[in-house]
Amino acid sequence: MRKVVFLVIVQGALLLNLPVWAQGPQTTADHAKFEELNGPFADGPSVTRACLGCHTEAAKQLHKTTHWTWAFDNALTGERLGKKNVVNNFCVATASNWARCTSCHIGYGWKDDKFDLAREDAVDCLVCHDTTGSYRKFPTDAGHPNYQAKQWPPKKGKLWQPPDLANIAQHVGKPTRDNCGSCHFYGGGGDGVKHGHLDSSMHRPDHATDVHMDASGLNFSCQTCHTAGGHEIAGSRYAPQAADTQGIDIPGRTDGNHATCVSCHGDAPHGDQQNAKLDQHVSKLACVTCHVPEFARGGRKTKMWWDWSTAGRKDQHGKPLVIKDSDGYATYDFKKGDFEWQANVVPEYRWFNGEVRYARIGQTIDDSAVVPINRIEGGPDDPQSRIWPFKVMRGRQPYDTQNKVLAVPHLFGKDDEAYWKSFDWGRAIKAGLTAVDQPFSGDYDFIETEYYWPITHMVAPKEQALACDQCHRRDGRLANIDGLYMPGSDRWEWLDLIGWLAVLGTLGGVSLHGAARMVAARKRRKG
């Protein structure tokens, strides 16, 4: 008992001695005291103008980022990437579908291809800096929140209230997981659809879901690793760093980028208590290969298959068909086709050197096989390559069978060319391809595609990391990885055959010899 009392006192004393930087917000400015933010604000851009009155360089900084441009020049491959320039196998492409897709853009008003990317007041400060949790962009308003109460989903009777812009403006602060997550957890049109390792469970993940972001543990924000300066955020999925050989990131000596495991844990992270062999895997494996044994572990499912070819079906009453599984996930949606969802997904593994080749709009495809949306480069002999875990999104999507290009379907819009209006693929594909200055032959079909997503989040507690024998056994997890000999998994089968035959043959030989000696000895005794 006395011990307990002592412990309580010590604990209390420790709490009282918490350093000042560990308590509460650290900002030196209370935005509620700024007259400029009293409002009322008619719309988002007028809030931005108020922000820019003090933060004079903020919009200029953002204009340079991928978050703004949705374009990414890959220095490694020379490819022009970014949401604006690539095709995917979720909602396929942004072009001609702007107002819907750009509800996740950090700007206001990207409703067609004439959007002025140089406008400073079109930058949406609030979506990243709201701390009230009440700011939401309206799903179909090109990045604007709604300024009047509106129904969403349309005609379902549920009212979506406009946010209180002045109140939000007065309560801005550093971005939290919720800010980043408001887009990144819902990519592809819903919770967990796209990434599988980023979904709504990451707003407040528990220890088992993500040891770093564990809300009651380390409680990392996104920027703890994705360090930010001048609104540029470290870490890119277009040009990921597959192998960090710099070791622990030290200010002044390295790049200040914490978006790799090694930048904090070093390249010999397992410590003296562990089997030394573990650290020796660093030259071949990405950390996440063992430490994210499964993704979509937070209790949400992720989309693994999307078949556009079956879209447009109606039920026996002529009503658009939607089928949901027992957990409430749509497995069929007349607007989008068939889906497959999965939780606790075992990743697929590939050699990866950080180079990703994307299928871009207008690029010719080989339609005799599954079409790669992106190609993961790297191999066993490349010192920059590591074995990485991937979510592989598969599905079927429309393409022009004569020009052999993936279609850019015009899905969203009030015009009759939009697929979700007329449900006519021919018109939708023509309108979409026209919007990106591509010809359409008039013939289309659907083709299977696959899209690789490196898995980096949802790092599991170390007890749940992969054990050796998950890979070091016949048909283990890395069975399809070639270019290396893995004890327990690989062997020369004929050597095993010859070896065991030799051993058994020897055993048989000495047994025969022994038996013959016994017979001979018996004969001698009788004789």
Binding site: Q280, A467, H472, L495, D496, V503
Partner: protein
């Protein structure tokens, strides 16, 4: 019959330590190879490495011992006719109850076939195991040293092949050691106590000098 002191203390220690370690290495090694599951891969690999380092240390000692004591001479091959005599004995004489054509003494511990067998164990199988094994263990450092242009495969294959040879050797060794002595388990007893019952020297063709 006479009681001859054949196996010195070091020799017996070396023999039994080696026996234990080789057995442990075979078991854990074939588990690491994926032939069966016993300890689980991680522990098997761990035990295998520890046993390997220990055996290497003992081998090192044994080579030193052989060289400094002159015991290495026990492995010099015998003349062909003596080898043939031994082969004839195992192939024929042993069935007829003929006397062993070879006489053991402290400086003639091995019969001509044993000489060949142990010589190949020490200069072929052993080195094959430990050269491939050391390369195997050192694999993570190949790259940084820029030493070898090939992958782990040839090393692993060589190591596995050597392990099969070792296992086959062990089968023959156990058979001969446990069944061919005059009294049941006589050789086994000899390897424990150091003393072995040997025939009176005068009844056997002398082998001292002639072979060495």
């Amino acid at each position: 019959m006479a009681r001859t002191y054949l196996y010195s203390r070091f020799l017996r220690f070396w023999h039994w330590a080696q026996a234990l370690l080789v057995l442990a290495l075979l078991i854990t090694g074939f588990e690491v190879h994926g032939s069966f599951v016993l300890f689980g891969f991680e522990r098997a690999a761990d035990y295998h490495c520890n046993a390997a380092w220990t055996l290497l240390a003992i081998w090192f000692l044994a080579w030193f011992w052989h060289l400094t004591t002159g015991e290495w001479k026990q492995y010099i091959p015998s003349p062909l006719h003596r080898i043939i005599a031994m082969m004839r004995y195992y192939g024929l004489g042993i069935f007829k109850g003929e006397p062993h054509p070879f006489h053991k003494s402290q400086w003639q511990r091995h019969n001509p076939l044993q000489r060949m067998a142990y010589l190949s164990l020490h200069v072929l199988i052993g080195p094959a195991v430990w050269i491939s094994g050391l390369l195997y263990i050192a694999y993570p450092y190949w790259d940084e040293r820029g030493l070898l242009g090939f992958g782990l495969t040839p090393v692993a294959v060589a190591h596995t092949a050597a392990a099969f040879l070792m296992l086959a050797f062990l089968v023959v060794h156990l058979y001969l050691a446990l069944t061919t002595s005059e009294k049941p388990f006589g050789y086994l007893k000899g390897m424990v106590t150091g003393y072995e019952e040997t025939h009176d020297e005068s009844l056997q063709p002398s082998s001292r000098g002639g072979d060495v």
